[in-house]
């Protein structure tokens, strides 16, 4: 059989192939749909978590918005710098990178420190408690309820409930998508730059006097942290100290100074930084003393 057989087979299938290809060719003409191919590319560049943190419905929605120029290319927190770079490459634009943020728990009032006002019988959900009674179940109206709405909300499994009923953020996993911030009815979760290793674990609106009544870990406005900071990274705003993150070097001296333990280390401070800070503190003390000493005669101050 042979050549003829081969030709018949080849010819037959070739003909069918030709017909199929022609139909497809015609169809691709007739049914042309124009879509910016970059939308697909951008979608691929995104992590595909569909977390909605960007404010668009799903990653592809965001991709369409970015390509259309309706959204900034750096809104995807989970994608991080990598995604921004890739999107920039696809769209041919240069984008500067942002400081990575991370979620932080601004409350130290766990079950022990800040007991509840009543026994709660209901859905184990923070939002539920705050709807039931304004201020929630804790003594402090701003305390963490500890029922884990933030844990539920995190799509990246970055939050776990600690033993004392306070959430603990896994800083490696957190993508700063902000879902926990949205979910927390008590405003406990906030995003801070990941360089900030020390935070104020309290955000109460109560006055110091009332704080003492309801919570042993809350800020009592004693100002010790502000005083001890050698870099002037802390200042009181209302009842609470506030960080200037650009100044804080995370030496942790304020942690030692804080009696209730409101100042909390999210990452253990580096001992070297601490040494430096202590030195700086000593220096400043000396300066202070010197200034005081020099105050009365007032000679030309040696600037340093």
């Amino acid at each position: 059989m042979d050549v003829q057989g081969i030709l018949v087979a080849g010819g037959t299938l070739g003909a069918v192939g030709a017909v199929a290809a022609s139909v497809l060719a015609a169809a691709s003409r007739a049914f042309r749909v124009d879509e910016d191919p970059r939308i697909g590319q951008v979608t691929e560049a995104l992590p595909g978590a569909n977390c909605g943190g960007c404010g668009y419905p799903g990653c592809s929605g965001y991709a369409a918005a970015v390509v259309a120029g309706k959204a900034a290319p750096d809104l995807c927190a989970p994608g991080g710098a990598g995604a921004v770079r890739r999107i920039g490459a696809i769209l041919g634009i240069a984008i500067e990178e942002k400081v990575r943020m991370v979620a932080v728990v601004r409350c130290g009032g766990g079950h022990q420190a800040c007991p509840t006002r009543f026994h709660y019988a209901g859905v184990r959900n923070c939002k539920a408690v705050t709807l039931l009674t304004e201020g929630g179940s804790k003594g402090c109206p701003d305390a963490c309820e500890g029922l884990g709405d933030c844990v539920e909300a995190c799509l990246f499994d970055a939050i776990h409930m600690g033993p004392d009923g306070l959430p603990i953020v896994d800083r490696e996993r957190c993508t700063a998508c902000g879902q926990c911030v949205k979910a927390c009815p008590k405003g406990v979760m906030v995003l801070e730059p990941c360089t900030a290793r020390v935070t104020v674990a309290c955000h109460t609106r109560l006055a110091a006097r009332e704080v003492r009544k309801v919570c042993s870990a809350g800020c009592i406005s004693c100002r010790q942290c502000v005083k001890v900071c050698p870099y002037e990274a802390l200042a009181m705003k209302g009842n609470l100290p506030v960080f200037d993150h650009s100044r804080c070097v995370s030496c942790g001296l304020c942690i030692d100074a804080c009696k209730p333990g409101t100042m909390a280390a999210r990452v253990t401070p580096d001992p070297a930084v601490r040494e430096q800070a202590l030195a700086r503190q000593a220096e400043r003390k000396a300066e202070e003393a010197a200034r005081k000493a020099a105050a009365s005669p007032a000679p030309a101050g040696d600037a340093s």
Partner: protein, 196 residues
């Protein structure tokens, strides 16, 4: 064959010898496009359309081209070529005329090409030596059966998705497969009702 026989053939193809649960054809789209009832309905419609059309075309090509030329050994390659082209054609058409359906079916339309059910229906119709009407009815029944379990399964999976207590190890594909297993166990109840 009379009308009753055709009905029996449809029943057989849908229930007794269901493509997915008894014949293991088209499992990938069955697992892939069954997360939402709406997309399952779309997929079911697409498969029914493609499957019947493909069976008819391949049946005719087989009888009119391959048999006279003694090229039966080309049936696989010819059938799949026709199916692939057909699917792509349908895909382009849907994309043009119903972008919403296209969105919903998304990446699954091309999956029909690699849906063994479509090729399977074409091949089985030849293997079982059906005549034209039988082949048509058989492919329709098979496609309906596929669509039916797809939709059933999609409703089941929508419910599975609402379950919060499924142990971690079983979430997703394992539970879907185990459900399909129990479903196919239940479908064994149809065995013996009609023999074809």
């Amino acid at each position: 064959m009379d009308a009753v026989a055709y009905l029996q053939l449809v029943f057989w193809a849908m229930f007794v010898n269901n493509f997915v649960l008894a014949q293991f054809l088209g499992i990938c789209p069955f697992l892939g496009v069954s997360r939402k009832v709406d997309s399952a309905l779309g997929m079911a419609a697409a498969v029914i359309f493609v499957m019947v059309l493909a069976s008819v075309i391949t049946f005719l090509l087989y009888g009119a081209v391959l048999v006279p030329l003694s090229l039966q050994y080309l049936q696989t390659i010819l059938f799949i070529l026709v199916i692939a082209a057909l699917v792509q054609f349908v895909e382009m058409a849907i994309r043009k005329f119903s972008p919403s359906l296209f969105q919903a079916l998304g990446i699954y339309l091309p999956l029909i090409t690699t849906n063994c059910a479509v090729l399977g229906a074409s091949l089985l119709a030849i293997k079982k030596e059906f005549d034209f009407m039988e082949a048509l009815v058989f492919s329709l029944g098979s496609a309906l059966g596929f669509g039916m379990v797809l939709v059933l399964f999609a409703a089941i999976r929508e419910r599975l998705a609402l379950l919060r207590d499924t142990p971690r190890a079983f979430r997703g594909m394992p539970i879907a497969l185990l459900t399909a297993g129990i479903l196919s166990l239940a479908f064994l109840g149809f065995s013996g009702i009609v023999k074809v």
